[in-house]
């Protein structure tokens, strides 16, 4: 078996004997990403309506369904309507702390079976299995959004306590709720936030997966015929809430 030392030494040797051949430079990283991320946010306080419009265009371009509402209190009614149109009842949601609001009572009042995910790690394997089964059986998954990238119509979700990866993955319909604080214009700006979360800024959550979601799951592997919902959700909805969710 190759040891780490041998492996790296062979690479070192090759690196030493190979001169640079073409222009070489890695991307210029932000010096203080948290400060730069803050600047991006501040500038968007002015420009968010244009950014939101760009997001909507791109998101719809990748077959996402866009909704807009005044406040988080209206969200349960929208979710219920989506559910009723699909004759669906079972909803798994992120924990209220991760969503920024406790929507379970209102969703329940609309006749849905709501299963909020716990804020803390399940105590045992059996409980973990039960929660996963709930997500696998659910018709709808309701999540928050950590970044919404206008350039590509992308939702970025960070995993962590109370915000399982399966909520946006296993149910056939994913509904994501966000406000203007999640909006960024470009992949480049999203990169600044990623740098910030890993260096001098605070990440939205402490999980080990960050997922960029750009529309519903799709494949074209059979005769290049575009088909949605192959493994992940067949539908993705994004509900934009005008009043910032966390007040």
């Amino acid at each position: 078996m190759t040891t780490r030392a041998e492996f790296l030494e062979r690479i070192r040797e090759q690196v030493r004997m190979s001169p640079g051949r073409s222009p070489a430079s890695s991307a210029r990283r932000p010096q203080h990403p948290a400060a730069e991320a803050e600047t991006i946010r501040r500038e968007l306080v002015e420009r968010w309506p244009e950014t939101l419009e760009a997001f909507r265009r791109e998101f719809e371009g990748v077959a996402g369904v866009f909704h807009r509402t005044a406040s988080i209190d209206v969200v349960p009614a929208i979710v219920a309507r989506i559910a009723h149109e699909r004759q669906a009842r079972e909803v798994v949601t992120w924990h209220s702390a991760a969503l920024g609001a406790d929507l379970a009572p209102a969703l329940g009042a609309c006749g849905l079976d709501v299963h909020p995910m716990p804020a803390a790690e399940p105590s045992g394997g059996a409980e973990r299995e039960r929660l996963r089964t709930l997500a696998a059986r659910a018709d709808l998954g309701l999540t928050g959004v950590d970044l919404a990238i206008a350039e590509t119509g992308t939702l970025v979700l960070v995993s962590g306590a109370g915000r399982p990866r399966s909520t946006s993955l296993l149910p056939p319909c994913h509904i994501a709720v966000f406000d203007r604080t999640a909006l960024v214009e470009s992949l480049r700006q999203a990169g600044v936030f990623l740098e910030a979360w890993h260096r001098d800024g605070r990440p939205p959550a402490g999980g080990s997966a960050i997922n960029f979601i750009t529309g519903p799951s799709r494949t074209a592997d059979i005769e290049l015929t575009l088909t949605r919902g192959v493994h992940g959700p067949k539908e993705v909805h994004a509900i934009f809430v005008e009043q910032p969710i966390r007040g």
Partner: protein, 472 residues
């Protein structure tokens, strides 16, 4: 591809591909569609050209300090609780993965599409160890059921019709299937959903690995990459050493051009950034995370003639535009990586002698350089490979003698003029309508698939000598 198939000469493999009418149609439709989608994507993205240059410069800069970036990656993966393994050969990589499977008592492994695990023939090794590997990318699932190999880097089953897929599902899954892509996809979803939830082991490649955060990046459209890295209790990622990039800022440059080059999407549906095993408070994610760093011939090229090929993102754009690939498809190449870049990667992984024939399976037209998101100069390296193959006397002796004679002829003006005159006389019985379509043996092999222009009735040299207007 089995060894038996590889013993068929390349020429013959290519020949049968060109006679396969369905394959010809499928190839034309697929490659033409991909070319159009890619062109549209870049047309609506003016900064794309500059980003391609930046992406290339990042790859180059990373290679110049690959040792350092890998050390950073390793340190960060371990800091996050992951394990890093080192594989010089495919056999070593296989045994590392098989050992992990054994130790963790895994019985089924779900796999996201990964060229690296194709390259090391991992599935056979897992099966031999009693672990059932299940490919979960729809295209890969289809060809696994059919016991075939991928024919395109990003669309592995483009050589199959929906009718063939329906027959395959009916036979292998014992489920009556209609030849309708939507219905077939639904069947695959149901079959594979069960497997995702049951599997103990998730196996992936890596599109990128970000050194300074210990992140493995997976790009998929179907969501199988997310399933495989979220649901099983162990995740193993197998990755060539060249896939590392320094930072998230660098990563964004690549993400902005990768999907556009591959499928014309602005971004693939899912880009998953995976950082070690699940953390405190998380419901899902693996308990164990392993990263297998694979050499397999790459390291020797850091300072070698194929260095540029280490920048490849595996987008498949060069396949679609290659006039040779468009004619013969992926299987005829005979190895894991098809197309123009595939020839170079095969030389890298298997050694130059393996591409004795393949090195010539290119018209050197340069369409691949234009399509490549990081502008790899594939023709330059193919020419170098041809030279190497020649030096090693890998070409047949007839070819070497013919080219040696031609070299003499071209160096001696008198001999050249005599040859032109002689050719004019000798070609008479064969030239028809301004072309030579059939020559007798031993030249017949040349004209079997192409025409030869005849020697002109007056050569340029003769006109130059006598025709004043030409010089005026």
């Amino acid at each position: 591809m089995s060894d038996a198939e590889l013993t068929t000469p390349f020429r013959q493999r290519a020949g049968s591909a060109m006679k396969d009418e369905f394959l010809q149609e499928a190839l034309t439709i697929a490659t033409t569609k991909f070319i159009g989608l890619r062109r549209e994507a870049f047309a609506g993205f003016p900064e794309g050209e500059a980003l391609r240059d930046r992406a290339r410069a990042i790859k180059e800069a990373t290679l110049q300090h690959l040792d350092r970036h890998l050390e950073t990656l390793i340190a960060n993966v371990e800091r996050l609780g992951g394990h890093v393994h080192f594989a010089t050969t495919p056999a070593e990589a296989r045994s590392i993965v098989v050992d992990i499977a054994r130790r963790t008592g895994a019985r089924m492994a779900v796999k996201a599409k990964s060229m690296a695990t194709e390259e090391i023939h991992l599935n056979e090794a897992l099966e031999a160890a009693g672990v059932t590997p299940v490919e979960t990318d729809l295209g890969e699932y289809i060809i696994q059921l059919a016991h075939e190999r991928p024919s395109h880097i990003i669309a592995p089953a483009i050589h199959k019709t929906k009718g063939q897929v329906a027959e395959l599902f009916t036979r292998e899954l014992k489920r009556p299937a209609e030849p309708d892509p939507e219905a077939l996809t639904r069947i695959a979803r149901a079959e594979l959903r069960e497997k995702f939830l049951q599997a103990d082991l998730g196996i992936t490649g890596a599109n990128f690995a970000v050194a300074d955060t210990g992140t493995v990046v997976l790009v998929t459209n179907e969501g199988n990459g997310r399933m495989v890295t979220s649901l099983p209790r162990v995740h193993v990622a197998v990755m060539g050493v060249e896939k590392v990039v320094p930072s998230f800022t660098d990563l964004m440059v690549f993400l902005a051009i990768l999907a556009k080059s591959a499928t014309g999407q602005k971004l693939s549906v899912y880009t998953s950034l995976v950082q070690g095993p699940r953390r405190a408070g998380e419901l899902e994610g693996p308990e164990e995370f392993h990263l297998v760093l694979l050499d397999g011939g790459r390291i020797a090229q850091i300072g070698g003639p194929l260095r540029e090929a280490l920048s490849c993102l595996r987008c498949g754009a060069c396949l679609n535009v290659c006039p040779v690939y468009r004619q013969i498809g992926g299987h005829a190449y005979g190895y894991t990586y098809p197309g123009p870049i595939g020839i170079l990667l095969t030389a890298m992984l298997e050694g130059a002698p393996a591409v004795r024939d393949l090195a010539h399976a290119s018209s050197l037209c340069g369409a691949c350089v234009d399509a490549c998101p990081v502008r790899i100069d594939i023709p330059r390296m193919l020419i170098e490979l041809r030279r190497e193959v020649d030096d090693e006397k890998l070409a047949p002796w007839t070819e070497r003698v013919a080219f040696a004679l031609l070299t003499k002829l071209l160096q001696n003006p008198r001999l050249y003029r005599f040859a032109a005159k002689a050719g004019r006389v000798l070609q008479r019985p064969f030239a028809r309508d301004g072309r030579i379509s059939r020559l007798p043996l031993p030249f017949g092999e040349w004209t079997r698939t192409r025409d030869l222009p005849p020697v002109a009735s007056r050569t340029f040299q003769e006109r130059w000598a006598s025709d004043k207007d030409l010089r005026a």
